[in-house]
Amino acid sequence: MSDLTTLGKLEIEPTFTTPKITFDPDARRFVLEGNSYPENSLKFYGPVLEWLKRFIERHTPSPEPLVFEVRLEYFNTSTAKVLLDLFRNFEVLQEKGQPVQIRWIFLEEDTEMEDAGLDYQAAVKVPFELVAINEGQT
């Protein structure tokens, strides 16, 4: 059994104010989707960041990339700060030799969300792809 499966999958169900989180090491796919405006983002994302830290400690790099997909509707400024922390963790993974890719998914006509993605793309040092989709597209 690999270290990845030992840690297990992280799954958090969505609420009106917090996103659905599925970090699946076996599928090499980490997904964050929905709304994110918890009253206290540190409290909500604390366990997520802790999980990611433990994952990084145990992870053995492999050639296949780990993909982090972010598909948000509304998010508040404290989430915006936490997102950067999450992205920084993927930088650490990359520094450890693990290829990573961040995919920022937004509705095609939502230029506001596209701009937010462009800001992050400029701020982080990992491959960061902006993916425009149409409404209803998954």
């Binding site: 918890p38 009253e39 983002s41 509304y74 508040n76 400024t77 700060k81 506001e112 969300m113």
Partner: protein, 170 residues
């Protein structure tokens, strides 16, 4: 010649505001703006600004049954205005006055730099906020104003108005 400008109240909430109520307001406002044919980029700016202002109220406003907070969204031919009003202690007035004066004097590039620096290097408040709410609103809207109006010896109404011009999103 007088140009008429139709004024309509799109949404008004007056009463207790917490994290149970806020998602309902967000959902209703998002739907309402869609039926008003407000395009997604502007819709996102308005709703995101409302979230920041409402969460500031939830975190920092003085709780008072006699003077509950309010959120008012109005529309004219020119655009949409979001007004958030809540009670603060008179003692907070000086801080708010100087903080907002300094923010509103910043040029667009200075505001962008402050936004970027707070996002990348700033710390969280004790209540888990990013200390960016008003900066974010100022950053997103086309016109910003605020008022501090005394209520009694101890309290002051704090009102923030953020306007979004439709012509910028046509």
């Amino acid at each position: 010649m007088t140009v008429s400008s139709e004024y309509r109240v799109l949404y008004h909430h007056e009463g207790p505001l917490d994290m149970e109520v806020l998602p309902l307001i967000v959902r209703d406002l998002d739907k309402l703006l869609a039926t008003e044919s407000i395009r997604p980029p502007l819709r996102r700016k308005i709703v995101s600004s409302l979230i920041e202002l409402a969460q500031n109220i939830i975190r920092y406003a003085v709780q008072s049954e006699a003077h509950p907070p309010s959120l008012l969204i109005t529309r004219t031919d020119k655009g949409i205005t979001l007004a958030a009003r809540n009670l603060v202690y008179y003692s907070q007035e000086i801080f708010l006055q100087s903080y907002l004066q300094s923010l509103t004097q910043l040029s667009r590039p200075e505001l962008e730099a402050l936004h970027h620096n707070t996002l990348t290097t700033g710390s969280f408040s004790d209540s888990g906020g990013a200390n960016l709410g008003l900066v974010e609103v100022l950053f997103k809207c086309d016109e910003f104003s605020y008022e501090l109006t005394p209520v009694d010896e101890l309290h002051t109404w704090f009102t923030v108005k953020a306007s979004f011009f439709l012509q910028n999103y046509e």
